[in-house]
Amino acid sequence: MFPDARRDVLFPVIGSAVLFSVLVGGGMLYQTIIGNGAAERLMTTMLIDAIIVIGIQIYIGNTGILSFGHIGFGAVAGYAFAVYAVSPEEKLKRIPNAPFGLTDTQVGPTLAMLIAVVVTLVFAFIVGIGLARSGAQSGAVAPTVITLAVLFVTHEVAKSWPQLTGGNRGGVSFAIGASLDKRWPILLALFAALLGARLYGQSRSGRLATAAREDNLAARAMGVNPLVQQMTALLISVVVVSIGSSLRVWQIGSILPDRFFFDYAMLTLVMLIVGGRNSVTGAVLGVAVMTAALELARRLGQEGFEIFGIGLDQAPLDWVFRENLNSIVLGIAMVGFMIWRPSGILEDWEFDRWLYRKLDRDEVEPELLVELDEVPDLRFSASDISVSFGGFHALSGAGITAASGEVVGIIGPNGAGKTTFVNVITGMVEPTHGEFSIGDRSLNGMRSFELSRSGLVRTFQNLRMFGALTVRENVETAALVAREHRADRQLPDVDPLIREAGLWEHRDRRARELDYGNSRRLELARAAAMAPSFMLLDEPTSGMSDSESLTMIEQVRHMAATVAAGVIVIDHDLGFITGISDRIYVFDQGRVIAEGTPEEVQADPRVQAAYLGSMAGD
């Protein structure tokens, strides 16, 4: 069922409540067992760390972009909070000359937190624009460097602007009345963070961001604009981190530049990585595990601590287990997990999704889709397309037309220019000359996500799945985009489409686990979910045996008919192409050398020569 409010709203709420209870409950238990002030402080710290790590997870998990900068945003929020929340008397001691008259200002902690969030959001928005311009995508270096810059710059400013921040010595320290003796602000913020993270993860923006994380190119080909989703994820994550940082400052009672720098960035990052960066449940687990591990390390480094009756302050063990053991534990945890389990303990497993599937009643097999009778009267037309790379003419005046409901094939030997042609009409290469359009709408100059929103949807030769997402989620990604940008067309339902592709029993399996044939069919289904005017299939039978290719013929025809789309197919498998096409264009050496029905083309001696090659001089 799509959209699925149970999966995307109800269960995340339930799941967040459970996670919240487990974490807080576990913390209370520990506190009660140990029964001293140190344990209580440790638990408070853990809960606040959890809020911040969840905030970081919202960004890193959904976009796949490694950010070191969130603690830098935390610094901004922390200082903003402190400066607004601390009483003027206290401020007079530390920052008597604060700019903007801030020494005399004081607001309640809630308002201070709100101000902190707003200030940090503005800063984050500017940074987000920079990230977008630098070509941010999962795994790229540039955005990581930019976020590192955020971390360092905020640290530098904090150190070097004593009028505002108290500089590096005393910092801004304070007691805000009833301070943080009560835990309820923290608990409230933690629950809100959990809920927000899960709801965002299942929201349209979160799902599109995740698709872009899995495969940026394929997401764009499905009409997703990754930059918009990444900015959304950034802003939401910054809100959470700002609140958590304000609470952190409130709890500690003071703020220093080093508290929001490298060490804390490393700590929060390790917590996230250990638990599993693509999962909110993982973030929570990571916080709990690392808190425990570090506490253990701290105890091991102290005098008089015993494990199984072996005193660890006896030689030679006392040389190993010393004070400050935690920093080494962090480093070892990081390197260890990178070597043995880079995705973390839970990878991207989410509690509420697991629960949902467990409690899932047997879904009824959906109806088969009906082939649409009404075929819109649209023509795809590409004319006089030329592309030159340096002196090399990849394409010279190539062009094709296709009508809705038609299947047009493109064949030609390697190096004939087919790939270049496809790249031109899918917005990846700019032609030196030529136009292409659907109906009377020109497609020149459009970027790939704009093209697919305009009705030209492609599949990829190199099979680009959203690997970690399930079959269903893959198709839903396209459906989410179609609902917004293809609303004037008749949109196929997701479940019937999955059944149509023969993937119903695999609907909840991850795309990367599918075998090859099923993966190709998933690609088809995903493209069809966009309700395209024209589907462009790039070597859909690549890697298939002859018999598999033949079954593809019917599958492609049928799938296209259910959405009344025209089909443009490029393939080397001549059996497949001649079987499926109404008309075929033959490319060779950058030109269209023949066009006609499959019979005409097969009998054409020029085509035979192009394929088999010819002796010199022919």
């Binding site: 030769q461 045996s545 001549l574 088999l612 090659g613 010819s614």
Partner: protein
């Protein structure tokens, strides 16, 4: 000299290879033809060790080279001229050749460099030019020469005539002929089936991951249904 038995390779989304059997005898020129996407590059890549083999074996000169590291396979005497040539564009012709001979001693390398200059006069002219500035035909010659620098017992070529103008295609096939007359053993993947079959001693036709036909070059050329074997169905 080279024996491939029951080779099955799955390579991401690009052509799989199913149960391929192939032999190349010493001094032979063997062709591997078929439509694109048939698995020809996959086959060469599997033999050369750059693609992971799922099942089957490859034996070279009596030794098992299945799933052995590519640098080891090269050192045992099996060289590959990869598809799209993959020359080091920022390095000069001389440097490219030297790298090809990295496994040889310095004196041997010196001799080989002279040999290559003889065999490929156009390379001698461009000795100190960056390889990225060479035309397609020149680059192909460089790629072949580079592979020869390792003194291979068997040289494999992946689509050497790809993207070349007809007169350069002639050059490539003349080269193959010359190398054969030098007694070298060659396995060539080619798109230009007609030319290939006229030079090859034997050939295999690959389609959609399966070897569908084999025979001497002449036998295959004479078949009326050659185009059909390409098309299938």
């Amino acid at each position: 000299m080279l024996e491939v038995a029951g080779l099955t390779t799955k390579y991401g989304a690009i052509s799989a290879l199913r149960d391929a059997h192939l032999t190349v005898g010493e001094g032979e020129v063997v062709g591997l033809i078929g439509p694109n996407g048939a698995g020809k590059t996959t086959l060469l890549g599997s033999i050369a060790g750059i693609l992971p083999i799922e099942s089957g074996t490859t034996t070279f000169d009596g030794a098992d080279i299945t799933s052995v590291a590519p640098e080891k396979i090269l050192r045992s005497g099996l060289a590959l001229v990869p598809e799209h040539r993959r020359i080091f564009t920022d390095m000069t012709v001389e440097e490219n050749l030297k790298i090809g001979g990295v496994t040889r001693s310095a004196t041997e390398r010196g001799d080989l460099l002279e040999e290559m200059a003889e065999l490929f006069p156009v390379l001698r002219d461009k000795w100190d030019t960056a390889a990225g500035f060479m035309s397609g035909g020149e680059a192909q010659q460089l790629a072949i020469a580079r592979a020869l620098m390792s003194k291979p017992k068997l040289i494999m070529m992946d689509e050497p005539s790809l993207g070349l103008a007809p007169v350069l295609v002639d050059l490539v096939f003349e080269l193959i002929d010359t190398l054969r007359s030098q007694g070298r053993t060659i396995l060539v993947v080619e798109q230009n089936a007609t030319r290939m079959l006229s030079v090859a001693d034997r050939a295999y036709v690959l389609r959609s991951g399966d070897i569908v036909a084999t025979g001497t070059g002449a036998e295959l050329l004479e078949r009326d249904d050659l185009f059909d074997t390409f098309v299938g169905g």
